[in-house]
Symmetry: C2
Subunit: 333 residues, 2 copies
């Protein structure tokens, strides 16, 4: 395989939960470069929930993946060959490498990483799409005011952990929702949220009510399903919801029916669904803040690293079922 | 009863669909006026869907009605006694008269009607809360652009009919959804919508798909339930939803579960739920437009008038079940 490329492709559309058999791992020739392109040897691949809906053959914001197509995703790695002066050999870059050991990028879709900003893997997390997503959804769409109550679902996850810490920086009371006691402890003890409620607890709704005596002004929503309905029962007048993800529903055949429409109306709630790919202009704004906050230790992050490209399908399934803990990465080599 | 007051009060909280037994009709003494108040003999009472959720003992944007409390509602009538110079005897005023033959208003909550603006009953419809609601939801929140596809549910109803006609004035392609062939014909032939789909038709979803080949950029939503889900299946990228009502769910014990969260996310939809009572400052803006459009014949309206205050409960139930046709009023005397 030395000198070759290894790729993970979608073999079939998942039926409900993703399974390892939905992927093919194949060896392919290294691509030849056109003018303006660079070949990158991947070090880290980012696994993100948004990849799951892309595997369904349904109308969406991008073309759904076709059978046999390379699984998409951001990665970081080293330029090993280049026909683009802005991406010189030896540079460490982040770009849409996909689930493969070697990917081709261009000046338009890749950025050269500044080692002073942090470890390269952070460019796939807090100092990359993950962090920008949290910043945009929370500050641009939901715009919480100091003293307001902010709820973040999937609070220990890659995006949620950053969203909640930004809300703390902005002076909000921040309540996380996460699956399991360990994650909740981490959210409070390590990330500094005011409280965290375990959505697997039998008295989840009551715990959530106790944690939100003044109701919920802002919801940063990553999960959907019954957890979303539970928060709607606690929603405050004129609340804003940044609808970022719906991970509880990505692998269900029959979607959960959200019962809280009445709450939306009675409390005059605004929902802003978004996909960060629409907002490329926003990256510099967000990264400027995030890099400062990370450097000052005001935003902390955790990575969950799976070793070897061939582990990507299993790591992806772990993430989709909430068994990861922190930003999910694959160390490619 | 001459000289007395007749009132319709809420006897009990409805269990599911409102029934006549949920009301008490009682005779009461005429109120004595304080300084700054005027006594109005009601001519027309407005019946509006928002009254239904107020009858439930649940957290809402105003205190729920208490047992034995007067049913609330706007009305128009003549000032028969006054201790407020701005509301002189003989003036025709609109204000929160409630479901009764005589109500007390103040300068702050009533307005003197200008006969040149139209018939007094219009102040309860297109030139009142109904019209202002349509204007605000459509233009301020959803902001449709010329050529965009706008869907209006409850299209023959008081608010929907105005919202759709405003969208036509703004150069949109406007699709109504209504219950029954008669209403759909009216929406197209009389109100000038481009098409109208009967949500009771067995092939409703297919008809809706055919009527929205370019998908749905704006939804003015009054209905909720399965109709809402059907529109979400046709939602366009970056669509805006003005969430004005949820009438299909006001009388159900178990709320319908909305399955289209995926569509919200994949198409980056914004939902703006609103209650026009929050936006009193907006009335002059809206009424300035609406009065011109009505005078020019660009907005048409239909009234469904039930005779006698005692008919109000039945008329209310008719409206909640979609058996009315046009803005529901009660002619009080």
């Amino acid at each position: 395989m030395s000198g070759g490329n290894v790729q993970v492709r979608m073999k079939r559309h998942p039926q409900g939960m993703v399974s390892p058999g939905d992927f093919d791992i194949v060896e392919a020739a290294l691509p030849t470069l056109a003018e303006g392109e660079a070949l990158v040897r991947s070090r880290y691949l980012s696994l993100d929930p948004y990849m799951r809906p892309r595997m369904d053959p349904l109308r969406s914001y991008v073309e759904p993946l076709k059978l046999g197509e390379l699984m998409p995703g951001a990665g970081v790695g080293e330029v090993v060959e280049s026909r683009e002066p802005a991406l010189p050999r030896g540079a460490i870059v982040a770009g849409p490498l996909g689930w493969q050991t070697h990917g081709v990028v261009t000046r338009a879709n890749a950025r050269v990483l500044d080692p002073a900003m942090g470890p390269p893997s952070a460019a796939l997390g807090v100092l990359g799409m993950t962090g920008v997503t949290a910043h945009y959804g929370l500050l641009k769409l939901a715009d919480p005011k100091p003293g307001e109550t902010v709820v973040v679902t999937a609070a220990s996850g890659a995006v949620g952990s950053v969203a909640g810490q930004i809300a703390k920086i902005k002076g909000c009371r921040v309540i996380g929702i996460a699956g399991g006691a360990d994650k909740c402890r981490y959210v409070v003890d390590e990330l500094g949220f005011d409280a965290c409620v375990d959505h697997r607890a039998p008295d989840f709704e009551q715990q959530l009510a106790q944690a939100t005596p003044d109701y919920v002004d802002v919801l940063f929503e990553n999960v959907g399903g019954p957890v979303f309905d539970a928060v709607l029962q606690r929603i405050a007048d004129h609340a804003r919801i940044a609808l970022c993800g719906n991970i509880s529903q990505y692998n269900t055949k029959e979607p959960y029916g959200v019962k809280g429409m009445r709450q939306l109306l009675m409390h005059r709630v605004a929902i802003h669904a978004f996909v960060i790919a629409d907002h490329r202009d926003y990256w510099p704004t967000a990264l400027a803040d995030l890099s400062v906050w990370v450097r000052e230790g005001r935003i902390r992050f955790k990575e969950d690293i799976s070793v070897g490209l061939r582990s990507a399908p299993d790591a992806f399934i772990r993430m989709l079922t909430g068994r990861n803990f922190g930003k999910q990465l694959v160390q490619v080599e």
